[in-house]
């Protein structure tokens, strides 16, 4: 059954508006003038050159990339462990544990930020990489857990059993059978962890220090004083980077896992 004309017209309008800021950001990054505007009055690589020639931008970029990489790897490992531990746990226990893992999604980030600011400061971790990392791990964990858990639930449990019957050690059955089948979930976990951490700003803006900042917070600080197109240039580079990651994931394991995660969310009992 096709949708009616009003629905299609509204959908078309929204499909133009949703990506509009991307177009504006990329377009205005090539502006030769010092004011952010669209359409750009000419074409130049000036702001890309400025980004690559400014150590403070590059340091913030490096910190954010390191933070995102470590967050992604650690939350994915923790998620694999948790998913394996909960797979055969009693349903009630598993329900409680999963609620606890997903809980950070149900709390407004502005409130969580003040909570982190309090105890991280008392522990001497205020304004440090370690403190920021702890907050990012907590915020990424719910996003990293679901893909791995969904992927694990899809594995037919008779497969590792068959491997064991055929003479595989338990460790071997896990490495050679379960782990390869978990690949799409692990890849989605890593991707989610990386993107969530790399873009995180609401909590991070409370946890940066005088000599330590992340890229999104640095971008926010810059946009607050002046709107020069260097921010648009950085963002365009980030758009390319993220799009590259998503494409890479599509090539390696496919994007089907994203639909599975949503369907799993609708049917928590399944």
């Amino acid at each position: 059954m096709r949708t009616g004309f009003p629905t299609r017209a509204l959908a078309a309008l929204l499909l133009v508006l949703l990506p509009a800021p991307l177009v504006i950001v990329i377009g205005s990054s090539f502006s030769p003038r010092a004011v952010l505007g669209f359409p750009p009055p000419g074409f130049s690589w000036r702001w890309y050159v400025e980004f690559l020639g400014t150590p403070s931008w590059l340091v913030a970029f490096g910190i954010s990339a390191a933070l995102a990489l470590v967050s992604a790897v650690l939350t994915t490992l923790a998620s694999i462990g948790a998913a394996l531990a909960l797979r055969r746990a009693p349903a009630r226990l598993r329900g409680i544990a999963e609620t606890a893992i997903l809980a950070p999604l149900l709390f407004p980030h502005a409130a969580l930020a003040i909570g982190f600011l309090g105890w991280l400061g008392m522990a001497g971790l205020g304004g440090s990489f370690a403190g920021m990392l702890i907050a990012h791990l907590v915020l990424c964990a719910p996003f990293a857990y679901r893909p791995v858990a969904v992927s694990l639930a899809q594995i037919d449990s008779s497969l590792p059993e068959a491997a064991t019957i055929l003479g595989a050690e338990p460790g071997q059955a896990f490495r050679r059978v379960v782990l390869p089948l978990l690949r799409p979930g692990i890849a989605a976990s890593l991707l989610f962890g990386f993107i969530i951490s790399f873009d995180e700003v609401t909590v991070s803006m409370f946890l940066v220090g005088p000599e330590f900042t992340t890229l999104p917070v640095a971008i926010y600080a810059r946009l607050n004083d002046s709107a020069d197109p260097v921010v648009a240039a950085i963002s365009s580079i980030l758009i390319l980077l993220t799009a590259g990651l998503v494409l890479l994931m599509d090539r390696l394991v496919g994007l089907r896992i994203f639909v599975d995660i949503e369907e799993d969310g609708r049917h928590p009992s399944a």
């Binding site: 096709r2 509009a20 950001v25 003040i114 926010y220």
Partner: protein, 272 residues
């Protein structure tokens, strides 16, 4: 292969992360109770300025959620029926490729007094003076709807895709008009998606900081921006803590009815 001890060891790293989360919520409540106490809440909640912030937070969050549902539903329906769904879905989630800071800033460029929209309207002779949208609650509303619409679309889309298409066909064959079939079959079956998406958007928009800071300015504050101001401009950590607790309560109170509704809708659909 997995005894209880081994299971515990596997769960331990995630357990640490849960502990870090619990610590920050418990620490927030504890420091609010010991350092500000009830007196501070009485003071804050009798301050007309703070009450206006509270009210603005609630109406902007509710309006954002309603707008996302009203715009997101037709879009999700279109996607569910379109043969090129994956392409359109890519456009819907494309805003996620840019940091929320930059996405919001795109709207500053669009909505400013000398921004794209005002310039175009003036060039076409439709207005004489620029329409002031930026740094008003309307700009915040537009920005939040744009930021959160993809979440709503995906939530609704997934519940539309789960529906058995034969139910709709049966509705039509039994003589229902298109509108009747939609109202009596498609819409009720997709309500879990609408309610689930709504509670997510309500929660996120109540606690937003970056979008209201950049688009609303510091005059028309929301709770999130008020917390930011208390920490970075007033340096009053006690007040910030109390405001954070108020935000927590507001978010839970706003979302609780939706959670109840969601459970109820699910039960009814499963019973049917």
């Amino acid at each position: 292969m997995t005894g209880p001890g081994r299971r515990l060891a596997l769960f331990a790293p995630m357990g640490l992360l849960i502990a870090a989360f619990v610590l920050s919520v418990a620490g927030l409540l504890w420091s609010s109770a010991t350092r500000g106490g009830i007196g501070l809440y009485v003071e804050l909640l009798s301050d007309p300025g703070i009450l206006r912030v509270l009210w603005r937070t609630v109406w902007i969050a509710v309006a954002t959620t309603a707008a996302c549902a009203l715009l997101g539903y037709p879009l999700a329906l279109f996607l569910a029926r379109s043969p090129r769904r994956n392409l359109w879905l890519l456009l819907v989630i494309s805003p996620w490729l840019v940091s929320i800071v930059v996405r919001t800033f795109g709207w500053v460029v669009l909505l400013g007094n000398r921004g794209v929209v005002n310039t175009a309207l003036r060039d076409w002779g439709l207005i004489d003076a620029p329409v002031r949208v930026l740094f008003t609650p309307w700009a915040v509303l537009i920005g939040l709807v744009h930021v959160f619409l993809p979440f709503m679309v995906i939530a609704i889309l997934s519940s539309l895709l789960l529906q058995d298409r034969r139910l709709e066909e049966a509705g039509r064959i039994l003589g229902g008009t298109r509108w009747q079939t939609f109202r009596r079959v498609t819409l009720p079956l997709s309500l879990p998606g609408v309610v689930g998406g709504s509670s997510l958007v309500l929660l996120m928009s109540a606690g937003a900081i970056v979008t209201p800071l950049l688009l609303g300015g510091l005059r028309d504050r929301m709770l999130g921006t008020q917390i930011y101001t208390e920490v970075f401009q007033v340096f009053n950590f006690e007040r910030a803590t109390a405001m954070a607790v108020i935000l927590l309560v507001v978010a839970l109170v706003l979302v609780a009815p939706l959670r109840l509704l969601e459970a109820r809708v699910r039960r009814r659909l499963e019973g049917a």
